[in-house]
């Protein structure tokens, strides 16, 4: 082995071992668990496990709460991704404008929510969203909108959590888009302006193609992130009211750690994996079509 190879193995072996042990091996184990009926009876006696093939999946598909969780998660993603990406893009465009001063200060301030802990800010927002004493309803009251039972009404619980999530994460993609916006070719922009193109036309024809790939990547990662929402419903609503904020991951957590049905829970994990894989696949296809990737 060359000295390079020797060093390379010394450098990479530790982290690769850990990745295999902590990540790849459990994933395979999850596959194995998902075709058994590992449950609390197995905790009593290992011989109580039996192989059930696709039985777990069949049972999942006939469990109404599972479909509810899928629907809620889809709703989170469908509403949340545009909200989050839109907010990030809006903030990035604002900050990108030449007439704005003290940009580093604004950037840091707008990014601050991202580095805070979900637990702490979920507590704060639970208070902000309080029906009677919360800031949000107070602000709405000032413009004449009646109090909304954000976290107590099944219809508004998902939007409530999404408002919080958007607030928390928009800073990250704002920075990413800021970097992307700096690559917009200024000469094209100048040319468009001299040609008298409207601001929207300039955005659509010059800015958008330049930041397209970044937008797509951010959207892909956002979808994957929204499909894995757990901490926010866990802290703010405990899956309620009326199970309206139970997500796939929340369902998996309950099934796996509360009732110890690890077989079924692993089946849910695999379904989640397939979903994320499918979404990633679809979006890369779209990207290839528009030659953005």
């Amino acid at each position: 082995m060359t000295p390079q190879e020797r060093t390379a193995w010394v450098f990479t072996a530790p982290v690769l071992t850990i990745i295999t042990v902590v990540f790849l091996a459990p994933t395979i184990l999850a596959l194995a668990l998902s075709v058994t009926d590992y449950s609390i009876y197995a905790a009593a006696d290992v011989r109580n496990i039996s192989f059930v093939g696709l039985g777990n999946f069949g049972e999942l598909f006939s469990t109404p709460l599972f479909w509810r969780a899928l629907g809620n998660t889809a709703l989170f993603a469908v509403l949340g991704v545009p909200m989050a990406i839109g907010a990030s893009l809006f903030a990035a465009l604002l900050l990108n404008d030449a007439s704005v001063r003290w940009k580093p200060f604004w950037r840091v301030a707008l990014f601050a929510p991202y580095v805070t802990s979900v637990v702490a800010t979920a507590i704060v927002w639970r208070f902000v969203l309080n029906t009677r004493f919360g800031l949000l309803n107070y602000a709405l009251d000032l413009i004449g909108i009646g109090p909304v039972d954000w976290l107590g009404d099944p219809r508004s619980s998902i939007p409530a959590i999404l408002i919080f999530v958007t607030w928390k994460i928009f800073g990250y993609n704002m920075i990413v888009f800021t970097a992307a916006l700096s690559t917009v070719p200024t000469h094209l922009m100048e040319a468009a302006r001299l040609d008298g193109a409207s601001r929207w036309a300039r955005f659509r024809d010059v800015t958008l193609p330049a930041i397209g790939p970044t937008l797509l990547l951010a959207a892909v990662m956002s979808v994957a992130g929204f499909l894995q929402i757990f901490a926010e419903p866990y802290i703010m609503t405990m899956g309620g009211p009326a199970q309206s904020t139970v997500t796939v991951l929340y369902f998996m957590f309950d099934e796996g750690f509360k009732w110890w049905n690890l077989g079924q829970a692993s089946a849910v994990a695999l379904i989640l994996f397939v979903l994320i894989l499918a979404v990633t696949f679809v979006q890369t296809r779209i990207g290839k079509r528009y030659e953005w990737l």
Partner: protein, 408 residues
Amino acid sequence: MLGMIPAAMLAAACSPRRDPNALVLWAMSYQGDYSPYLTTRFTADTGIPVEVQSIPWTAAHEKLLTAHAGGVLPDVLMLPNSWISEFQMIGAIAAVPSPTLVSGLFPGLVEGSRISGRDYAVPWSVAPLVQYYRRDILEDAGYATPPVTWDGWRTMAARIKRRRPDDHVFLALVNYEGWLFTMLAQNGAYPLRERDTRGNFRTPEAREAFAYYASLFRDGYAPLASSTEIQDPLAAFAAGQFAIWEGGATWLLDMRRRAAELPPERWGAARVAGPRGPGPTSAKDVSLSVSTTSHRPAEAWALVRHLTSSESELRFATMISTLPARVDAWDGLDIPPRVLQPFREQAHDLAVSPMVVGWERIQIEVQLIAERIVRGLMTIDEGLAEADRRADRILAKRRSLVESGRIA
């Protein structure tokens, strides 16, 4: 440089020092928060320090299961009676070594949690249900005390509703399973069959209970509301929006604290109405167990003995309004006799709940079905069939183990 890695990992495996001599006690909610008051006396008497950890109910099941999985269960743990068989099956709790620990208790408590003739937990408190009623509203309708039969309840409810059409009579929340399961117990409808491996909801008794439950909502006596719509039941009760609330002894604590909102002369307590007179009620009694992985079982059982002594249980009754499991402790309770009487009678008439893994899930599922029934989304017969289906599914693993003879 890379040699630092194993050293750092070793450092990571170390944990903060804790008193190795201390016994560890886990309890939920109020019991967890107030146990230190009881354990200081134990420490003073025996010199053994006790560390109390309070767990919220919402996280209790997972915390206990993961602790068992990791072999880090505490020396003494509090368990609701419905979990005892589950934790015994997975080998988490030890058998009670001395019969004196479980003597002098309400009869239903010990028999109800015995497994194969052995006891695995010492009952700590008993939690019978009673109906709290608004004296003034009932008197206005011509009743000094509430009826204790189902028909009597309906007659009274009709009279109250006529006088107060905008209010309801019974505070039965649609996401709370206590009312329906009490009715099932009173009508003699044991919910499982075939050695607790299948649902038994399609019996005439169960059907009667469901029909009665649904009729209360249909006729407007109970509101179509869940705990998210009525977040403060006591305030609603005090405001006269309801005349009857079925609850346990811990409500006495809230009512004592908020006597300004609801003065004691305005409410009373009576036995819950049953189909032909009062019957057994479902309850959330709790017990204490010692884990099988405790390093000091003798001291752990001494702590259990101390916590379940009459003085300790009475102290708890004063602080957090839990009723003692010890019969003779009731003589020292500071509750007016007219309020204590229904609790006492009910404590001698406890319902027998199935002691199987998954019972809690079945209750949750059945209550969801009941909610659909009362909202008119399902007929009663459809609901009963669905309840059986779901119970069968939840018990599937148990069924296969029983059929193959691996479980008694």
